[in-house]
């Protein structure tokens, strides 16, 4: 008899505390703040990639400004930047990127005799075999299921090893926050179906962004039709930022 009473008592206890938990959850949660978070399996349907058409870029720097505003990038640090290459008749190469081209380019490097000139926008390559995630000692740098290299800033210790390991100079330590930072492909935008800010801002559509896993996506079609190059392919990082019209001088 005692046993049954105790069982009933326990049952009642469990039910009432479960009820309290669920009730309080509803009471304290705000219904309209609900965020649409994709499930892990849904994320696996995406593999975000990036194409830069260097033949189209005019070096206006809109992308750099858009990125800086969208992501509150601290001064003198860059999640994206534009490089200018100028080659003269004697095959002397001049490269520059004043302030990452956030104010575009003011003057030519050569006064005359430029035989070839072009712009190359740079961005985190979100490599398949990224050196930065390999070396992060605490696992704060990671690949998201949809193929974006991200940083968990609540976990990063700010050792700077990833900054050293990135062969492309895409990472930096945000000295105010004390943690590493880099391009996220505007993860807060792309999961809502929007384009990254730099892609959105480009007046020449030199930056193309899309799902590499979707055979009908614009990016897939471009990659199927055009010839492209990768930055520092010999390092085996397998970058996911594809460059159309990539010149030998670009590293």
């Amino acid at each position: 008899m005692d046993n049954i009473e105790r069982r009933q008592f326990l049952k009642l206890g469990i039910y009432s505390s479960a009820g309290l938990l669920v009730g309080s959850f509803f009471a304290f949660s705000k219904g309209n703040d609900k965020i649409d978070v994709l499930e892990y399996d849904d994320l696996l349907k995406f593999d975000w990639g990036y194409v830069v058409d260097t033949t189209k870029c005019i070096g206006c720097g809109s992308c750099v400004r858009a990125c800086s505003v969208e992501n509150s990038v601290p001064d003198t640090f860059y999640r994206t930047w534009v490089e200018r290459f100028e080659i003269d008749n004697h095959e002397i190469v001049r490269v520059d990127s004043p302030k990452g081209a956030i104010e575009s380019f003011k003057e030519d490097n050569f006064k005359s005799d430029i035989s070839k000139a072009f712009f190359v926008p740079k961005i985190c390559n979100h490599c398949y075999n990224s050196a930065c995630t390999q070396v992060c000692p605490v696992g704060a740098s990671y690949h998201s299921p949809d193929g974006v290299v991200l940083i968990d800033k609540a976990h990063c210790i700010g050792c700077g090893y990833c900054v050293q390991a990135c062969p492309y100079g895409c990472r930096y330590i945000d000295h105010k926050k004390g943690t590493a930072d880099k391009c996220t492909l505007c993860y807060h935008r792309i999961h809502k179906g929007e384009e990254p800010a730099c892609v959105n801002a480009c007046p020449r559509s030199a930056r193309i962004f899309g799902n590499l896993k979707d055979p009908n996506s614009k990016i897939r079609k471009i990659l199927n039709q055009r010839r492209y190059g990768l930055l520092k392919p010999d390092l085996g990082t397998n970058p996911k930022c594809y460059y159309i019209g990539l010149d030998l001088e670009v590293v």
């Binding site: 190469v93 490269v95 995630t133 000692p137 605490v138 990135c166 945000d174």
Partner: protein, 384 residues
Amino acid sequence: MDLTQNFLFPNELHIYWTVMIVLYPYITGMVAGAFIVSSFYHVFGMEKLKSIARYALVASLAFLLFATIPLLNHLGKPERAFNIMLTPNFTSAMSGFGFVYMTYMVIVVLEVWFSYRSEFIEKFNQSTGVAKFIYKVLILGNTNDNENTKRYDKKLVIFLGGVGIPIACILHGYVGFLFGSLKANLWWSTPLMFIIFIFSAIVSGLAVLIFLYLFVHWKRKIKIDQESIDLLSKWLWGFMIIAVTLELMEVLSISYERTARWAILEQLINGKLKISYLYLQIGLFSIVPFLMLSVTSLAKFNVKIRNFIIWLASGMLLLQVLLMRWNVVIGGQLVSKSMRGFTEYFPGYFDKEGIIVSFLLIFTPFLLLRAFDHYFPFFPKKDK
């Protein structure tokens, strides 16, 4: 490649690993080197080193206690430092740091404890009041001290010293690996890096031991154990030859391959690192001490002059290893990953990671060592 325009990737304007990261391998180098010297007596029974062995061991502990301070000062989020052990990412060369460091710390602390245990008990019996209590805590309340326990302590010291040698090599070799395994950095990326680091560690360990030993013995006017100093100085001579040769061979092989990498590294060596690498590290602080130690090792002459030359040479080699750390850590970051230019670095005098803080960090372990000598003497106070 044309370097006249000095192009950097925009984020490379900043140097991310500062002089703090120069100090860390410098201090651990002395830790590993000093420990290995102490083990030569404890483990391999080299009687000539008897008067040095315990001092080497305690010196190792003093430096070890301070090795992580520059790292913590450098971390962007030092309060999260333990993440490295709580959530280690084992594909990272750095993730093993906490474990290797802790293991080594445990070994050194235990070895010091076992080698001092019977003296602590003696002091416990002699002292009164607070001191007695402190010694009681130090001996963990165990006053057993007889032939049996002494033999047991000695056995454990030998065992710990034996286990400690590979761990010391790992601790320091791995610091070299941390740099050498980064393919993105043209100046660091070489499999030789960790071997160079181990040998330079032994050089700095030997140099600091000789330098301090002679300095303290002169100051206190106590008799110098000439046999052990001669032996140590010969080792210093040998190990510095190996360390410098390895480093030069590495540069030679890169230069002979004449790849695109050399095109920029040549400019680094002849440009930004001309003074600190070519003139100071290789010229003044490697070749001169090499000649000095060659003379003291091969020729027989007045002991006082010989000791002075050995002392000067070991002081110079201490600076040579510091310069080597600087040239590796800072030098590697000066080269742009675009292979088209170089950045600048000056630590600043009063910065958080500046020159004054660096001096403080280098000298505190020596002060601690002085305090250790006061409480657990490893040098005689004066000539008896």
